[in-house]
């Protein structure tokens, strides 16, 4: 294993994160299976295996909902950013909980029969042509397979092995998994006897996940519109007006959008300016939303760091990102929109020393 995928070591925050995660999941399962049945109003309780399969299934569904909300929440309010950190553990745990759900289903509904349980799962209901009675289990299987693949490839080893674009594309299939799960319950549990609370929870989840993504989408679009002016004002042999010096806080950056998928982060520190690509080499995290710590640009997502002048991660790490040339005229910052190869050294612009 090279230093490149050296895991960020355990520390208090990660332990705290995982502890909260385990407590919340443990509490959910405990209340669902042990506490709540005492408040039920039934002639005889439902079977334990069914209770547990419902507990684990709905738990995985809620966890998946929260995972999908963390991304847009962190964009809307930076204080949610720390939740992004260990989302890997969150995801792996979700896949595990969903697998327990599936295992209860197999061990109960598809067991005790002369037919092999896996064969029974795939063959016992084949009413694919109808909405009512549709074999909704198959949608759960699809979701579970995706969750497994994502959990198995969640480690940074796979990120560096597959490369960020493929890895990212692969992990976007989490949305497909969510869609499958929503359909799984829509064709399954929700078609049963009316259960307004579960219906409400599923509806709220869909509204929340879609709503938050819609809001962040609008926000990004507005940001891009603001940048149209920068694009339109190509001046001085293709230099772009990136804004005013005072727009940038010390040790922070301003992000300039050159086009759809090219953004540049201009950092101000120690009376100097440097520009690098906004996309972190780790998972394309928004570097411009990070800060300069100990002389390095620090990514807000997982804390990868880069030297300001050349976009190289400090030794022993080896990541490199693109740099850009800057010019300062008066208090106006100009940016050369042509990216330099990753790791190219560019002398920072001295703020006092400009003409």
């Amino acid at each position: 294993m090279s230093v490149q995928y050296m895991p960020v070591l355990w520390n208090r925050n990660k332990i705290f994160y995982d502890a909260v995660l385990l407590i919340a999941v443990g509490l959910y399962l405990f209340v669902f299976i042990r506490v709540a049945p005492a408040f039920e109003d039934v002639s005889k309780p439902i079977d334990g295996a069914i209770l547990r399969m419902r507990a684990f299934g709905s738990c995985a569904f809620l966890m998946l909902t929260i995972i999908l909300c963390i991304g847009p929440l962190a964009r809307l309010d930076r204080r949610f950013l720390p939740l992004l950190y260990n989302r890997r553990h969150f995801g792996v745990l979700t896949a595990g909980i969903a697998a327990v759900h599936a295992n209860y289903v197999l061990g109960w509904y598809f067991n005790f029969s002369p037919t092999d349980k896996y064969a029974a799962l795939l063959s016992s209901n084949t009413s694919y042509g109808q909405v009512l009675g549709f074999p909704f289990e198959s949608l759960g299987i699809a979701a579970l397979l995706i969750l497994f693949v994502l959990a198995a490839t969640s480690h940074d080893f796979w990120l560096s092995f597959l490369g960020a674009p493929i890895w990212k594309a692969l992990h976007m299939s989490i949305y497909a998994a969510y869609a499958f799960v929503v359909l799984h319950v829509a064709f399954g549990a929700l078609q049963g006897p009316a259960d307004p609370i579960f219906t409400g929870v599923v509806a709220a989840s869909v509204v929340l996940v879609c709503g938050l993504h819609f809001m962040t989408g609008r926000m990004e679009a507005a940001r891009e519109r603001g940048e149209e002016t920068a694009k339109a004002s190509l001046q001085e042999n293709g230099w772009v007006v990136a804004g005013d010096l005072d727009d940038i806080d010390e040790d922070c950056a301003k992000v300039v959008t050159l086009n759809e998928d090219e953004r540049v982060a201009i950092f101000k520190y120690d009376g100097k300016l440097s520009a690098i690509t906004n996309a972190c080499a780790h998972q394309n995290g928004p570097l411009g939303e990070g800060k300069v710590l100990w002389g390095c640009i620090t990514c807000p997502w997982h804390g990868y760091q880069y030297n300001l002048a050349d976009g190289r991660a400090p030794a022993p790490f080896t990541e490199k990102i693109s740099t850009y040339r800057l010019k300062l005229i008066g208090s106006t910052v100009l940016l050369d929109p042509n990216a330099l190869p990753p790791g190219t050294h560019v002398d920072p612009v001295e703020i006092g020393g400009a003409a």
Binding site: V25, V31, D41, C59, G133, M219, D249
Partner: protein
């Protein structure tokens, strides 16, 4: 919500222990809401589940009687009247998702002693057969009664697998249970029609096809749905048999 990072915004670095104070407060509140929210959601979802009814295995009330096995068209066990108790007909199932066609065919029309565990919901009783033995001291000269026709009926309700619905699984009905019921029927467990309206005071019917024969795959797409179907109803002692004409079946919901 600025796209510009600012100096005052707290900045968290995951691999450091130090977390800016305002963030710490924010994250602690979030952690409490998250865990508490999960607990409340569990309470709300779990405590309001639909009543699965009172069906169940009657482990404490084991069944052992002498009588005759018949295929009508699924295996049933006919027990003669005894003093004040009238003659009875029980539906049968094997262990797990298995029927009892084997023993029923092997011991056709000879008196047997049948041991098992009743699974019961209201007036729906199915015996999970443990042991069938030919018996000498059985009911000699017992002639089970012929079915009494009760005419043609249009019933609405659900086709369930008789064993799970009787209480082997709670709830043993509904769409979540469709695949399981399908597997039960494939294994030879008799299908039962659970009607929303009674015929002669009874709402559970052993199902047969319109000619009184075994049902096949044509039942699968109708299973576990709320349907309406016509057919002839007849009575075998205390058991109702519904000879459903599946060509008239209509999915209501």
């Amino acid at each position: 919500m600025s796209w510009r990072q600012t100096k005052d915004a707290p900045f968290y670095v995951g691999y450091l222990n130090a977390v800016p104070k305002p963030l710490l407060v924010f994250l602690s509140i979030f952690a409490v809401c998250f865990a508490g929210g999960m607990g409340l959601a569990a309470l709300a979802l779990s405590s309001t589940q639909n009543d699965p009814g009172s069906g169940g295995f009657q482990w404490g009330n084991r069944f052992e009687q002498a009588g005759l096995l018949e295929l009508r068209p699924y295996p049933v066990f006919r027990v003669p009247a005894d003093g004040t108790t009238p003659a009875r007909t029980y539906m049968l199932s094997g262990q797990g998702k298995r029927g009892v066609f084997g023993p029923a065919k092997a011991n056709k029309e000879t008196p047997v002693n049948l041991r098992g565990v009743p699974v019961n919901r209201g007036d729906l009783t199915m015996i999970q057969v443990g042991k069938v033995e030919a018996t000498e001291d059985g009911p000699t000269g017992f002639q089970p009664s012929d079915p009494v026709p009760l005419g043609r009926w249009k019933l609405s309700g659900e086709i369930c697998d008789g064993k799970c619905y009787a209480g082997a699984m709670r709830p043993g009905r509904g769409l979540a249970h469709k695949a399981c019921a399908d597997l039960c029927l494939t294994g030879g467990i008799p299908p039962v029609f659970v009607s929303t309206g009674p015929v002669d005071g009874r709402t559970f019917f052993l199902m047969a096809d319109k000619n009184g024969n075994l049902l096949g795959d044509e039942i699968k797409d109708l299973l576990a749905l709320y349907i309406e179907v016509e057919g002839d109803v007849e009575r075998l002692d205390d058991l109702m048999v519904f000879k459903a004409d599946l060509a008239t079946a209509r999915i209501l919901k």
